[in-house]
């Protein structure tokens, strides 16, 4: 995306140290259990662990065999067992069963549980109840932050979303606060802090608390990061629910990027084996297309393959010496490029095939109509048909949620009929899914017979102290239109473009949704950074239900403070999508600043929907 940046964005800080710290601490913890031992690893921790250590590192620290923590008795014969786990009740019972089975058979071993990123009291309670407290030793591996890429750091806590937003459990807030503290101590001090959302505010307060009592004042250190912006996922569900059309987002939606890498199956590799590929800035092909709208990717790839062909063709007519040079200096790079190019072409092809089959074009049209708020009836029938035809249950759910959020709830008749048909198509047990979606507010029913006066009184309750005089205005925007509509209007999220939206040289962040919609979350970030606070955004804040904050602790004036003032950590509590990442990267290029993404996990509409389902115990 060749945009004319006014000034170049600063390079991101080196986050490699986060990996080294995590690895070193893990090794330190393993050394606390000297001698040979078998290591049991929680499946969710395997990929993150793979990113910071490998088998030989573990072997060097006397790890004998590796097992996966699962619901099966462990065949291990070692005298020392070490468990590397997330703090979960279920896992505690699994471990307790092993310990108790050993006790029954009169076998004595040493057990150590390493909790990542922290231990919960509830886990200890279970160990106590099961009668194994004291038989096991516990430790914490403070592995809060995993750098997935030069500008993405993940906490790898996908359960954060459900735990906080659905169950109302604040268990991860401490982890977030500690993660912020760590980041601040390494790359800060951050001079400006902005945020919106209840969880953002609580995390901020707890982090402040931790900072206050630590002796580390960080004075005199030159910060590498100057700004931080915290946002709750529920400030903007709409963006996360839209189909992604930037390359990285599409790859994620189609193949699922897991911990920064993806498994390309035989349909992509055009061979009989799968290949696991790391997708990051080091991939020279990927780094150039990841943020592009899918339509621009083809052109780029074919240009690349022509160039590559030309470079290979130069061999003809080379003499021996030149050839030797070519082989020793260029061939390796070319081969690497060739390999990547064919993978991404294969991926594009596979995406195209899948999307064409799925009526993707029609679906995008429906999404755009929902975002703009017209043709509601037709969109509803489209969703209905989608359900009737038993097309993907996740997609159907996603579209219903998008309809609900943009319309501020479904009208009762539609809600009932869509729900009934959904249960008939995908199974009655989804009754539980609907209940969850209602609780979290993703799929709701407009209160029956909600008259204008009822809405009005509710609205006036919301606004009394702030804008009493504007009740009528506010009411007008709320009565028929949902908050989303009002916000969308207020922030001009739907670009009005004369003529064709230029996807190859996009004018704004809306390109990540084909020019049809500017992601709300990113727009808020843009506005607040521009205004250095929330002034002038009162109405938007009110529509988003408040909980905004802005702090400037001895922030240097404009110009001072150097590059750090142009580096912003965008913290997404509850997950962040690749579309949002692409949009903010674009904004960064435009404004000459650098965004670093800190998220509880990379998310997508499918992951969000799946988190709402009830699974077997």
């Amino acid at each position: 995306m060749a945009s004319t940046a006014r000034r170049d964005a600063p390079e991101p800080p080196d986050f490699g140290i986060l990996k080294r710290l995590a690895r070193d601490q893990l090794i330190y913890l393993l050394e606390q259990l000297p001698g040979r031992k078998d290591l049991f690893i929680e499946p969710d921790l395997m990929s993150p662990l793979d990113r910071i250590a490998n088998v030989s590192v573990l072997k060097q620290h006397e790890v004998d065999k590796l097992y996966r923590v699962e619901n099966r008795p462990a065949p291990s014969t070692s005298d020392q067992l070490c468990f590397l786990v997330r703090p979960r009740v279920r896992t505690m019972r699994y471990i307790a069963d092993i310990v108790n089975a050993d006790k029954m058979s009169g076998r004595s071993r040493k057990y150590k549980i390493i909790f990542s990123p922290q231990k919960f009291y509830a886990c200890e309670m279970v160990l106590e109840e099961e009668g194994v407290f004291g038989d096991v030793t516990c430790d914490e591996w403070s592995f809060y932050l995993l750098p997935l890429d030069e500008d993405i750091i993940s906490m790898e806590l996908p359960e954060f979303f459900r735990d906080y937003f659905l169950e109302g459990d604040h268990r991860w807030i401490n982890s977030v606060a500690r993660a912020l503290q760590l980041l601040n101590s390494l790359y800060g001090p951050f001079s400006r802090v902005y945020g919106i959302g209840r969880c953002a505010k609580m995390s901020y307060e707890l982090w402040r608390d931790l900072e206050e009592e630590s002796e580390n004042d960080g004075q005199g250190r030159k910060p590498e990061i100057g700004n931080i912006f915290l946002m709750d996922r529920d400030m903007d569900y709409v963006t996360a629910l839209c189909s992604q059309v930037v390359y990285e987002g599409l790859v994620d939606d189609t193949f699922r990027i897991k911990c920064g890498s993806v498994d390309f199956g035989p349909e992509v590799t055009s061979s009989d084996k799968s290949i696991k590929v790391l997708l990051n800035a080091q991939d020279k092909i990927f780094s150039q297309i990841r943020n592009e709208h899918f339509s621009s990717v083809f052109g780029f790839l074919s240009q690349k393959s022509r160039n590559l062909q030309a470079q290979y063709d130069r061999r003809q007519g080379m003499d021996i010496k030149q050839m030797k040079n070519f082989v020793s200096q260029e061939l390796k790079g070319l081969k690497q490029e060739h390999r990547l190019l064919s993978l991404h072409i294969g991926a594009c092809e596979s995406i195209m095939k899948k999307k064409t089959k799925q009526d993707f074009q029609e679906m995008i049209k429906v999404e755009h109509a929902l975002l703009e708020g017209f043709d509601i009836r037709e969109s509803t029938s489209f969703i209905e048909e989608h359900i009737d035809r038993q097309v993907s249950p996740i997609e159907s759910l996603r579209l219903m949620c998008l309809l609900s959020i943009t319309e501020n709830g479904l009208i009762p008749k539609d809600y009932r009929s869509l729900k009934t048909q959904y249960l008939q198509s995908y199974g009655p047990e989804h009754l539980l899914t609907f209940h969850n979606l209602k609780r979290i507010g993703l799929l709701t029913e407009q209160a029956a017979g909600e008259t204008l006066t009822a809405v009005e009184s509710r609205v006036s309750k919301l606004v009394t102290d702030r804008a009493a005089g504007k009740i009528t205005d506010a009411f007008n925007s709320l009565a028929k239109k949902s908050n989303f509509r009002a916000i969308s209007k207020k922030l001009s999220l739907i670009p009005r473009v004369d003529g064709e939206y230029n996807l190859k040289m996009p004018p704004d962040m809306a390109y990540v949704f084909s020019g049809a919609y500017t992601p709300l979350s990113c727009k808020i970030v843009e506005q607040v950074l521009e205004r250095r606070g929330w002034q002038g955004l009162e109405e938007v804040v009110r529509l988003l239900n408040g909980n905004e904050f802005a702090m400037a602790d001895g922030a240097p004036e404009d110009g001072a403070g150097g590059d750090a003032q142009r580096v912003v950590v965008a913290v997404f509590l509850g997950g962040c999508t690749f579309s949002e990442i692409a949009a903010l990267r674009f904004l960064g290029k435009e404004r000459g600043c650098r965004f670093i993404f800190l998220t509880t996990a990379i998310t997508s509409s499918a992951r969000m929907m799946e988190a709402m389902a009830e699974a077997k115990a």
């Binding site: 088998v55 060097q60 790839l301 390796k332 064919s342 294969g346 009754l431």
Partner: protein, 478 residues
């Protein structure tokens, strides 16, 4: 909110969203294919010596990665011991070539160095904050107790004995924002308070209440959870929470019994019918499954011999069951439980859904006359008419997916109402007659002439085009 029709038209016809289409196979995909060819042709030059390829095992995990190694342990633990050893060696040796960036110095000393020099505090949790010097005092205020617990320190809560003290502690925990500590306090309260007292206090403390509910869900204390929900008068949640248990019942007979019991639970009026349906559905499935398994084993029924069942119908959604019934039991009388019409009636399946499913099932069997009958209606005068509640473009799509012959396809393509869609479909599936007739009706001579090159030389279609083009009666628009 709703805009003028004209506005919408303009919106969809504006070029804004045309820049990119997934349907546009001609353009983008061929471009892609070309690039692919180019890249593939280079394969000969780039011999696959894998030197910069990641080593990947059969499962796709890079060899030597932790996930890979775990799979190895898992698979080899059932096989011989020797096998495991070699595989593990392989795992480590493939990494031996890699540069070792592992810290060469002892880690304990590293961490010591950090705290000693105090240059920069990389690992806050390994350091002793000043507050810790008071560790051995027993007189923590509720606030300090909560703070200490937030830092992961063990703290006895036993001295909070009066209800007031307990609640101050709980409120402090909530104010501290750390869910882990809130839950810890709740565990203590749950142990030291009668449940009614605890429930009463939590009723006015929503955040704490959420934590207790979540905790009870996780630890599986179903009885206490239900008591709590009942106390709070959250009857619908009581019902749902009980209903949820059916997910863990494997045995279908037991599950059926359980669901029967669920019907009496205090669901909302709307949900009660869903629960009833769930029960009835499983009941039906059990009957059908028993019968059909028997039929299939006996080998008497042709349909089961020709199309063996791939899976049992138990626990499938209603629509899947309907499909199954349309596939195997289409002609049965309404009286039998397995007949499609019976299902339709029992579960009040809407017409649209019924037709869609039946169509898919019959098309899969290539029973075109059933398809025809399904879409034919008679009016009161006895005239027959084709009608599709789902739109004929969908009918075409379903038939095409099941490789319907052109003659069959053609008939329905012709019935697609929207001219543009009809032309698209007809062209795509080579229903020449429909294309020709449509152009004739549109009086589009130019398109018709252009289409001539798409039909076979000397075919009936070509003849038809020629005769149309030479027909002086038609007033062409161009």
């Amino acid at each position: 909110m709703s805009r003028a029709r004209a506005d919408e038209e303009e919106y969809w016809h504006s070029s804004k969203f045309r820049a990119f289409t997934f349907d546009d196979e001609d353009d983008e995909l061929s471009q892609l294919k070309e690039s692919k060819r180019a890249v593939n042709s280079l394969r000969d030059i780039v011999d696959d010596d894998d030197d910069d390829l990641e080593k990947v095992s059969w499962s796709g995990e890079p060899v030597g990665s932790i996930s890979w190694s775990i799979k190895e342990t898992a698979s080899s633990s059932s096989s011989s011991l020797e096998g495991r050893d070699t595989s593990l060696q392989k795992g480590s040796s493939s990494y031996a070539a890699l540069p070792k960036q592992v810290s060469s110095y002892s880690l304990s000393s590293l961490f010591k160095a950090f705290s000693d020099t105090g240059v920069k505090n990389y690992a806050p949790e390994l350091r002793r904050p000043r507050a810790e010097y008071k560790d051995y005092s027993n007189d923590w205020s509720p606030r300090d107790t909560v703070r200490r617990m937030q830092r992961g320190k063990v703290c006895s809560l036993e001295r909070f004995r009066s209800l007031q003290d307990k609640m101050v502690l709980l409120d402090e925990a909530v104010a501290g924002h750390d869910g882990n500590v809130i839950t810890a306090v709740l565990i203590f309260l749950k142990r030291t308070l009668r449940r009614e007292v605890l429930f009463r206090e939590l009723e006015v403390r929503q955040v704490a209440l959420c934590h207790l509910i979540h905790f009870l869900k996780e630890t599986g204390e179903q009885k206490l959870l239900l008591d709590l929900l009942r106390f709070l008068d959250r009857t619908e949640e009581v019902a749902l929470s009980q209903y949820r248990e059916h997910l863990n019942i494997q045995d279908v007979e037991k599950k059926r019994e359980f669901l029967k019991g669920c019907i009496g639970l205090p669901f909302s009026a709307e949900d009660i019918s869903h629960i009833q349906d769930h029960y009835t559905l499983l009941e039906r499935q059990i009957i059908i499954e028993t019968n059909d398994r028997h039929l299939a084993m006996a080998g008497q029924s042709e349909i089961f011999r020709k199309y063996p069942r791939k899976a049992s119908i138990l626990n499938m959604p209603l629509v899947t069951t309907l499909f199954y019934s349309c596939f195997y039991h289409y002609t049965e009388a309404e009286g039998t439980f397995s007949s499609p019409t019976n299902l339709k009636k029992t579960f009040k399946i809407p017409d649209k859904q019924y037709v869609l499913t039946a169509l898919a099932a019959r098309a899969k069997l290539r029973a075109w006359e059933d398809v025809d009958a399904l879409l034919t209606t008679k009016n009161w005068l006895g005239y027959t008419k084709k009608k599709a509640p789902i739109g004929f473009h969908r009918v075409v799509e379903i038939l095409q997916r099941n490789n319907a012959p052109v003659q069959v396809l053609q008939e329905y393509v012709r019935l697609v109402e929207d001219v543009e869609t009809r032309l698209n479909l007809a062209t795509k599936y080579k229903c020449h007659d429909v294309v020709i007739d449509t152009y004739r009706d549109l009086k589009d001579r130019i398109q018709l002439m252009a289409y001539k090159c798409k039909v076979e030389r000397g075919s009936a279609e070509e003849e038809k085009i020629n005769s149309l083009l030479s027909n002086m009666q038609i007033r062409w628009k161009n």
